[in-house]
Point group: C2
Chain length 549, copies 2
């Protein structure tokens, strides 16, 4: 059997290596039009920032390594131009010698990856306007910064890559401006979580321009003049587009391989395309959501590796199948980590779910133990099934742990009621006695099953704007209320609420709040236990409200 | 309804607070013979080490707080002497005034906690021989160290508390010797994982005395002379017993409350004892294993809180039930974290499971990203059900994350095949593209289902001792083999194994190995694919083998 693979970064090499692990009875050949193989694309921003000091650290494996270990032949700088499924051949060209090649396959794996989107604007081809797809792009950015002693940069786009670039350009001493066409950072996340990051970045003197696109890039090799849709002009030594990627499906489309609704190659659970003997894996390939079973395009190295391993196994007689993804993502920017899995609030609402939304603000470990820091966990659950639908977390430490626990729970179809019972590891350096994950489940369960209803900051704000007849009770101590409070709120410190309860109008909806939610919930409990019917606690408390309004 | 609670640390206050959250229609009273309430017992070692600087940080809540917030009355320094279930009363005494009290209950919650074991040896009552049960004990240790400018200590016992004490005594500048009666540290964990910690502690100049008990403590208030079972004499300024705890069940026993086989109070899933209207929660109470359904005694603040909340809910009409524990534990000693969940290898074997054992050594995040460090993950799975039975992890960073992911997976009955598919959060600062958790599942699945059999270091060592006819292949490069290798191993570097395969005896069992397992597995794959039948890869590779032998 002869296995050909097109693409040698994550998915292609995973597929080839897995095939070889399963059998010695196959010829395995990989073609790639680039020079570099088997590197971590997710490491590229850190290579630009010199956090990863050397090119070798980023690209530890070469053709020789694959040959010696796996008897896999990798031809770099070879572009595959076309596929002939009838003859089971591919036509390629050696980009160095221009020599054409025809090669035969029994099984073909397409791992052509993704390509950065670049809007068609004047000036985008200037020498100091970059995108970041491969190691050579990263080399070019590094070299430009060094040669021109660049002092400033504009990053266009504020997704995960854009914000990782921000950190790494800053670590090289550049002043960075971010241009984002939406009204929030990280448009795949909800606006409230994005707001936490926005406040943080502003505190770090980052310039952020919202609601603007780039219309034109003027200037020259040393100083650019980036003109935005509103006519702003931003000067910078270089600019990098980080406005997302699209699947590289040109080759697949030419031969009639079906794309899915996301525009990426549609495959079945065995990673097979609609054309016999042709598989697709990695960033050119469509995945699907474990939660909704709907197609998803969420290109990432971890998923690419999974897909590659599954295809390699299938081709060589194995039975591994793809089980879908949650769309988990995480990134670090300066000392904050931001993670998401499953659906955002917006996505869940768009899909028609009846949801409960919690903003849970908790320390990552007890305040009495050094370096305790705050986690903001936003969790979305389905009121009908009580299953978790998604989570977003921002914080300094322990974000990756909590998102991975939620990923694992959600993979097994966890209901919110399951979280409290988890026997998670507890010791003061690592967690609170009740981990934030347990609280997340407890509060959602109380809201959905036990009548301890939640109201989000956005919902409360809308009620205030609409001048709805609600009673807002600030349950904090007087000093906190006097320092700042929600418009129209009355102050009944928790310790007084039992005596004051009879003065409160029972016919109006009541909203309780404190700083982060716990004391507000205590006040809510007392009122409900006193027979009040319509009492909501403000999710995330005043702290969350003030972050947004 | 009148609810009485005996004990005001974790479980008792949790029960009382949950009861109040559910209803205003109850009188809730807590009795405790100690002075301090609602503190983190797990924080005590850190208070001794001044990592937690003040007593107030450790005991943030007082009687007034519980009164104002929850209308809960707490009587400290009140010892409950007896219970009369027929009359539903308790008899207590105010330890300050000696005044006796009779109080009535509708529901009684026993949360009497645990007490440290202290062997009955001469000298154990000396002023500078301590145990660590409550804040006052910690105060006494702190004061003794300060007043006597103590320079050295002996910690008797090397469980989690003993090793946390070690760290904290060191942070106060004391030279510490550990005395452990078993032949390994942390006797609840497997010896191989304990060995990693042992090597580390020895590298930090800690003295460890194994296989010895303390026979007598001689000396005086300033210098102790600790005499061990072999007649060794160890001089130190103070000694602390940390040889485990036992449930404090004196009161329960007096009234005929049944104990379980672990010696702790037996309860049902509602936390009810065998006597009507009497509940038990926390460190005096027996739990049970999610995995084996058998009784377990595993006292810990996180479980105590769960039990308390469940009892409080049940008493006030709620339906929360206890779902068992995995026996998860974690602790930090200096810069190492050690965690365990589920069964150890020894425990699984004793229970009669047919197990697969993996030692998986992986970086917590990519080597190219700064501060990458090593995780050693030992995982045990059931060959029949393919379910995970337990895990133990040691490493510098990311231990808590991996154990919590495994806890969550095991809670949902995960099979080893499920781990590879988890869509865990990936970015270079947080994880490798394939997280160590994924590898753990992959290797175990390959071993159990795909014929990629594993052999443990202990099993290989036994074969070497027994002079069994096995071929041991060191698949590393020649230089590594020459520097050190397993006795009797031949060196066939991976890149040569395809050519050399025909020279290898097909009739003998073959064991392949490399440094950590990956290249050994590659060699194993090649030989199996060449038709060899009986090929094992050494779990954890040479690195793990040399840690043990």
């Amino acid at each position: 059997m002869r296995i050909l693979v097109i693409g040698s970064v994550a998915a292609g090499t995973s597929a080839a290596a897995k095939a070889r692990r399963n059998t010695e009875k196959a010829e395995i050949v990989i073609y790639d039009k680039d020079r570099d193989i088997s590197y971590s694309a997710c490491g590229l921003p850190y290579y630009i920032g010199s956090t990863i000091p050397s090119r070798d650290a980023l690209t530890p494996r070469d053709e020789k390594w694959f040959k010696e270990r796996y008897q896999i032949s990798i031809h770099t700088r070879h572009e595959v131009l076309s596929i002939d499924p009838a003859k089971k051949t591919i036509k390629a060209v050696n980009l160095e010698t221009k020599q054409p090649i025809i090669d035969h396959y029994d099984r073909l794996i397409i791992a052509t990856g993704a390509i950065p989107k670049t809007p068609p604007i004047p000036g985008k081809n200037k020498k100091n306007v970059f995108q970041l797809r491969n190691v050579e792009n990263a080399d070019a950015i590094r070299e430009y910064i060094l040669e021109h002693q660049a002092k400033s940069a504009v990053v266009i786009g504020s997704g995960f890559i854009g914000l990782e670039l921000l950190e790494n350009l800053m670590s090289r001493g550049l002043k960075v401006t971010i241009i984002e066409k939406e009204d929030q950072l990280m448009p795949t996340m909800d606006g409230d979580i994005a707001k936490y990051l926005e406040h943080y970045l502003l505190s770090q003197n980052i310039d952020i321009v919202f609601n603007e696109t780039v219309q034109e890039i003027q200037g020259n090799d040393t100083t650019l003049d980036i003109v935005t849709s509103s006519g702003k002009s931003i000067k910078a030594d270089l600019a990098i587009f980080a406005v997302g990627v699209r699947p590289n499906v040109t080759l697949a489309q030419q031969v009639g391989i079906q794309l899915g609704e996301t525009g990426a190659i549609r495959v079945n659970e065995k990673m097979q395309t609609n054309i016999e003997h042709i598989y697709a894996v990695g960033d050119c390939t469509e995945a699907y959501s474990i939660l909704t079973k709907k197609p998803m395009y969420h290109p990432l190295g971890s998923t690419a590796n999974k897909m590659g391993r599954i295809a390699g196994d299938q081709i060589t007689g194995g039975d591994l199948t793809f089980r879908g993804i949650l769309g988990t993502g995480i990134f670090k920017v300066l000392d904050q980590a931001i993670a998401k899995t499953g659906l955002s609030e917006r996505e869940a609402l768009n899909l028609g779910y009846d949801i409960e939304t919690l903003v849970n603000i908790k320390p990552n470990h007890p305040a009495y133990y050094p370096n305790s820091s705050q986690l903001v966990i936003k969790a979305i659950a389905d009121r009908n099934s009580r299953k978790l639908l998604g989570a977003q977390i921002i914080g300094q430490d322990g974000v990756d742990k909590r998102i991975d626990v939620l990923v694992t729970a959600m993979t097994f179809g966890a209901k919110v009621d399951d979280l409290f019972h988890l026997d998670l590891a507890y010791a003061p350096p690592f967690a609170t006695t009740k981990d934030p994950i347990l609280y997340t489940g407890m509060v959602l369960e109380n809201a959905m099953v036990k009548g301890r209803k939640l109201i989000t900051a956005q919902q409360l704000n809308q009620k205030i704007i609409n001048k709805e007849p609600v009673i807002i009770i600030d349950a904090r101590v007087e000093k906190q209320y006097d320092s700042d409070h929600i418009e129209g709120a009355i102050n009944i410190p928790l310790k007084n609420i039992r005596q004051k309860a009879h003065d409160i109008d029972r016919d109006k909806p009541i909203i309780t709040y404190c700083n982060k939610g716990v004391t507000g919930n205590a006040a809510q409990n007392i009122l409900l236990n006193f027979g009040f019917k319509d009492v909501y606690n403000l999710s995330g408390g005043f702290k969350n409200y003030r972050t947004l309004y």
